[in-house]
């Protein structure tokens, strides 16, 4: 009996972990595959960093080399000199910060109302809100552009920031689900003390849901930072461009100067990697998959 259950346990563990521990060769093969996969994951990132440190023209060498023969940091300096790279960086930062602030305020407020306040039509409206998460964005693209153009807001950041201030359905959903888990006693106590619903949202709900707020903040920063289609449509002048847009124009601006293009790609990616390492636990909560940042 003892031996049977032990063997059974092994089978269960090996099955649930995809075959680990069944036999040494299989385990070794799996480990090698994991390592190979890991190399494929990291190598392109490493190569972009190394290429950005190569001398002009060295990227074009045949056969290609991984490491620069001569480490050259001039590409980064030239990037800031020849194109308004710092301005783009600043623009992206402004949009990400203002957009994220608005997304947090508007979405959690709305999420709180959907979670706790009773008003006619609440559940139907929440359902509509959820349904719009699945709406393909291109359907509304053209009329939105026409409206913003009519209002003279083309080549401003308003079309890129304003939607965040009007609640992002996914974040509304996220905050509603989180607020529903906050014990009601806190609110009741606050109500007895005469606190308004607004006070409860600001002073009880938000402070008690810090990790959810952090999650929204991270998703929103990344989404704004990576957005390409909207800046492409709304921004024209070089000084207004975001990093995503500016980086794309480097391709035509520098032609085959891949060392410069890679320097730009590295500088755009770096803040995301820093955010990832600083806030890793929020990424691993699984919500990132829900936010549709899958890289399309």
């Amino acid at each position: 009996m003892e031996s049977v259950s032990t063997r059974g346990g092994d089978v269960a563990r090996s099955a649930s972990s995809g075959g680990r521990g069944r036999s040494a060769p299989v385990a070794l093969l799996k480990h090698l595959l994991l390592i190979l996969g890991g190399v494929i994951m990291v190598l392109p990132l490493a190569m972009s960093i190394f290429d950005s440190l190569k001398q002009p023209g060295a990227v074009l060498s045949v056969p290609p080399t991984l490491l620069p023969s001569h480490w050259e940091f001039g590409n980064y300096i030239q990037l800031f000199r020849t194109v308004p790279f710092f301005q783009w960086f600043l623009n992206s930062t402004i949009i990400a910060v203002l957009g994220t602030g608005g997304a947090i305020l508007s979405s959690t407020l709305c999420g709180y109302a959907f979670a706790r306040l009773r008003f006619p039509g609440r559940d139907a409206l929440f359902l509509i809100c959820i349904a719009t998460m699945m709406l393909p964005g291109v359907v509304t693209l053209i009329p939105q552009f026409i409206v913003y153009r009519h209002l003279g807001l083309i080549d401003t950041f308003v079309p890129l920031i304003l939607p965040s201030w009007l609640g992002i359905p996914f974040y509304i959903f996220l905050s509603r689900q989180t607020f529903r888990t906050v014990p009601k006693d806190y609110e009741d106590a606050a109500h007895v003390d005469g606190a308004s619903n607004w006070y409860i949202w600001w002073r009880i709900m938000l402070p008690m849901s810090k990790s959810m707020v952090a999650t929204i903040a991270i998703f929103s920063v990344i989404a704004n930072w990576n957005d390409f289609l909207n800046p492409l449509i709304y921004l024209n002048s070089a000084s207004k461009m975001t990093l995503a847009l500016g980086l794309q124009t480097l391709d035509s601006f520098y032609g085959t100067q891949w060392d410069l293009i890679m320097a730009g790609a590295v500088l755009m990616t770096l803040p995301m990697i820093v955010i990832f390492f600083v806030a890793q636990r929020y990424f691993m909560s699984g919500g990132i998959s829900f936010s549709g940042l899958g890289g399309r």
Binding site: G18, M41, M47, V62, L135, P163, G167, Q248
Partner: protein, 323 residues
């Protein structure tokens, strides 16, 4: 002043009601409803002004010929007739998009699930591998597209070098109409580790007792996967597929960056969203592009409904404790 008085009054009423433990008064309920509507007001404005209104507008615009500079001109169904019977690029772009979405999305889900299965319950190195596999998914699309373009550069890129090393014939990659889409799919799949956290969470939520029971019955690894793991992780899988297809049908940025917006070679990367963008913002055919947007909307909506229909039979949901 009177507003403040009213607020104080209603607060007093509320206080009284709470103190007496009686059901909340109608004044309080009105106050609560008013706050509720005020709090969802930003979203409501956004929904009406940025979603519902624009959807209706784009539906109306789709029946016009509108070049933005002069007033729109009502042409009835002409845009739809052109789209469905005359414009050969529509069919080409739909085929490109379908190819991309139907190959990349299932592969993305399979790789994510496979990785999660391989990493699940691994103690040593879990943190390390999770980080490594996740990193590509947070690389901005524009940056990742550029760095893969360099790798697939036909003359000095690494992909060509590997082929040469293996004595295989050289390829043109993004410049070859048959290879451009697969290259873009490879680029996308590089970020498949982005689904790792949600798959890992799904796998970890499966009760260990189920595995133990199966093991007592002597079930094989494959049977355990088919009988326990797959059904219990199917809601996550379904979610990844639904959102993946919705995004996949709208793929735009990689093709735009890789081809400078042309969708070349031979329109092989002229995805539907790219062709729509070109019609709207390059040729300023707002009417025609709106008709395209509605076609895409109907396709995506229809396909999503089909998926939900299939899911009703295939996806396993435990009775949810959500109250």
């Amino acid at each position: 002043m009177s507003g403040q008085k009213r607020a104080t009054l209603s607060r007093g009423v509320r206080l009284g009601a709470e103190a007496l433990g009686r059901p909340r008064s109608s004044a309080m309920r009105r106050q609560e409803a008013r706050d509720g509507y005020l709090m969802i007001l930003p979203w409501l404005v956004g929904f009406l002004g940025l979603v519902l209104g624009p959807m209706i507008a784009s539906f109306l615009i789709s029946f016009t010929n509108w070049q933005l500079v002069v007033a729109p001109q009502w042409i009835g169904l002409e845009n739809y007739v052109t789209m469905l019977s005359k414009d050969s690029l529509i069919r080409a772009s739909l085929a490109d998009t379908a190819f991309y979405a139907f190959i990349s999305t299932p592969l993305y889900a399979c790789i994510g699930l496979g990785l999660a299965l391989a990493l699940q319950r691994r103690r040593r190195g879990l943190y390390f591998y999770r980080t490594i596999y996740f990193l590509p998914s947070i690389t901005p699309v524009v940056a990742s597209t550029l760095l893969w373009m360099l790798i697939f550069e036909p003359s000095f890129g690494w992909a060509s070098y590997v082929l040469q090393f293996l004595h295989l014939p050289q390829q043109l990659w993004l410049s070859d109409p048959h290879e451009a889409k697969p290259v873009l799919i490879v680029m996308y799949l590089w970020g498949a580790g982005g689904s790792l956290p949600i798959f890992l969470a799904g796998l970890n939520a499966i009760p260990a007792e189920l595995y133990e029971a199966a093991a007592v019955d002597g079930a094989s690894g494959w049977r355990i996967f088919r009988g326990i793991t797959l059904p219990l992780v199917s809601p996550v899988l379904f979610f990844i597929l639904v959102t993946g297809f919705i995004a996949g049908f709208q793929v735009f940025t990689p093709a735009y960056v890789a081809t400078g917006g042309t969708g070349n070679p031979e329109h092989s990367t002229l995805f539907f969203a790219l062709y729509l963008y070109n019609n709207a913002f390059r040729y300023l055919n707002m009417g025609y592009a709106s008709a395209m947007a509605w076609l895409l909307f109907v396709i995506v909506l229809g396909f999503t409904i089909v998926q939900f229909g299939v899911a009703r039979r295939l996806v396993y949901y435990e009775s949810s404790p959500d109250a």
